[in-house]
């Protein structure tokens, strides 16, 4: 009899512990799904739930705060997701919070993320509908990727054609790639360019040095470059020069007109410039004058030797010598 009682006690302990374990497991699982404890309902409307299921977690700022209780299809583009949230979270979630659907890791199950708003909105009340933001569905991304792939296929096909043309030496680029003479020429050109650029660099360095060495305070170049007054004066000189050149141009114009008049007119100038007979007469006149002057010189020489006028010439000679001595 005692043996039976002891056995029963052991059996009782076994059953109680086993049942407790079962109940604990059920409680822990239920607790994760917010089946126990105070909760309040919230909802959000999405266009696409991306495979969200009843029982999926709801996170607020990264903390599990509830679960999805029901997913209701309102119409073909509106799906209402009902959530149950822990009561204690009602003191933190505000009306401007935004619900999004995300996934737990790369291959994890879907979940609803509630992101806090930025404003100072009131706290949510049971049954409130949160604003939602639908991310791009993976299907849409795949669709875009498909188009991209098609484009990439076209591009590679064209690229293949281009490379084939290039390898066959067709077109300018193909010739550039395949023509060795052109390559050598190019090489020379590049060498020359390199040399030129080196020279240009040296020249620039020299110029730079020269500019550095200019005494901006004292030298002419410095004054020209730095002195604003001289600059003004230069500007005025140039302006005057411009005016003068304008004046000269006008004068030249007038002279042109005058010459035209001289050429076409009947005045003495035209006669002087164009009448050859008069030139001949003038030439013979000049010759006569020359001859006359020569004869006059002879007469004057004769006068110097004449006793009547010789005294006067001597007097002049003496006076000249006196002046020459004074100068010395």
């Amino acid at each position: 009899m005692e043996k039976t009682t002891a056995q029963n006690i052991r059996l009782g302990i076994f059953v109680i512990i086993g049942t407790l374990l079962l109940v604990t497991a059920a409680y822990l699982i239920g607790n994760r799904q917010n089946m126990f404890g105070d909760t309040f309902p919230l909802s959000a409307v999405f266009k696409n739930t991306n495979g969200l299921q009843n029982g999926n977690n709801v996170r607020f700022s990264g903390i599990n705060v509830g679960t999805v209780s029901r997913i209701e299809m309102i119409n073909d583009t509106t799906i209402k997701v009902h959530m149950i949230i822990e009561e204690k979270m009602s003191a933190h979630i505000k009306k401007d919070a935004v619900a999004t659907i995300g996934s737990d890791g790369l291959v994890g199950s879907m979940l609803v993320n509630i992101v806090p708003g930025k404003g100072d909105a009131d706290l949510v009340e049971p049954g409130d509908q949160l604003k939602s933001y639908s991310k791009i569905a993976s299907q849409d991304m795949l669709s875009t990727l498909n188009t991209t792939n098609e484009n990439a296929a076209l591009l590679t096909a064209e690229l293949l054609q281009v490379t084939e043309s290039l390898t066959q030496g067709k077109g300018t680029l193909g010739r550039l790639l395949n023509d060795t003479i052109m390559a050598n020429d190019l090489k020379h050109t590049i060498t020359n360019l390199k040399y030129s650029s080196q020279e240009a660099s040296t020249t620039l360095a020299a110029l730079n040095n020269m500019i550095k060495n200019i005494d901006f305070e004292q030298s002419t170049a410095g004054v020209l470059l730095a002195d604003s007054i001289s600059g003004e004066q230069m500007r005025s000189i140039i302006s005057n020069l411009e005016n003068s050149s304008n004046g000269i141009e006008k004068i030249v114009g007038d002279l042109g007109v005058l010459l035209e008049d001289v050429k076409g007119g009947k005045g003495a100038l035209r006669y002087l410039s164009q009448d050859t007979t008069m030139v001949n007469q003038l030439e013979s006149t000049m010759l006569n004058i020359e001859m006359g002057a020569e004869k006059f010189n002879q007469n004057m020489e004769a006068l110097k030797h004449n006793f009547l006028t010789r005294g006067y010439f001597k007097k002049l000679e003496r006076q000249q010598k006196k002046e020459a001595k004074k100068v010395q």
């Binding site: 039976t4 059996l11 079962l22 497991a25």
Partner: protein, 268 residues
Amino acid sequence: MATLQETVNSRANTVLKGVKNFVIETGELSHFAGRFFKEALKPPFEFKELLRQCYHMGNRSLVLVGVTGFIIGLVLTLQSRPTLIEFGAVSWMPNMVGISIVREIGPVITALICAGRIASGIGAELGSMRVTEQIDAMEVSGTNPFKYLVVTRILATTLMLPLLVIFGDVIALYGSALVENLKGDVSFQLYFNTVFDALGFGDLVPASIKSFFFGFVIGLVGCYKGYYSKKGTAGVGVAANTAVVTASLLLFVVDFIAVFVSDIFYDL
């Protein structure tokens, strides 16, 4: 020298005989099960014997189930680690081990262990009672041997197996957590948090209901084989042996049906 036709006939007869035996046994087993339900609901109830059987089948199997569960959890984790590390998914170990143990490995392994220990025990016990004509003696003395011997044992296995499964699951998870704690620096709290995050009622409830059926099958087959064992000492051995084989086979059939049904139920 047998002709070809004689050989074919002989083989065909053997197959036919096998099919016939299978059908007869299925019918007898179903009849046995029907008789159990009829007797189980009819008073008087043998509570004391039920408790005694529960103790023998529950408490006495606990160590075996515990050790098996611990090693299963340990080995499953150790074997899965390299593959999960290769995929960079070692943090998913608690999820994987938790779900596989609670849903399938725990109930099936525990049921197989119990089929080996309990079904053979019942088969041998009832078989020897049949051989030594104790069952006949009970009938003569006016005691209902079916109610006293069969109903209590089937009820005991049906009630005890879910508890043993729970114990087995917990110990297996503990074994797995121990490996993760030693090799992966995962705390016990984090491990069990992750396990219960991954588990849902869809994992626990079907597995628990399935365990009741496993217990019922073990008890039913063990009792059937023992109750109808053939005369002679060889009959006891055959009863024990066939009880284990048939129970194990039936366990997998029941498991398949249970998984199939629970899958449909939880998909809805």
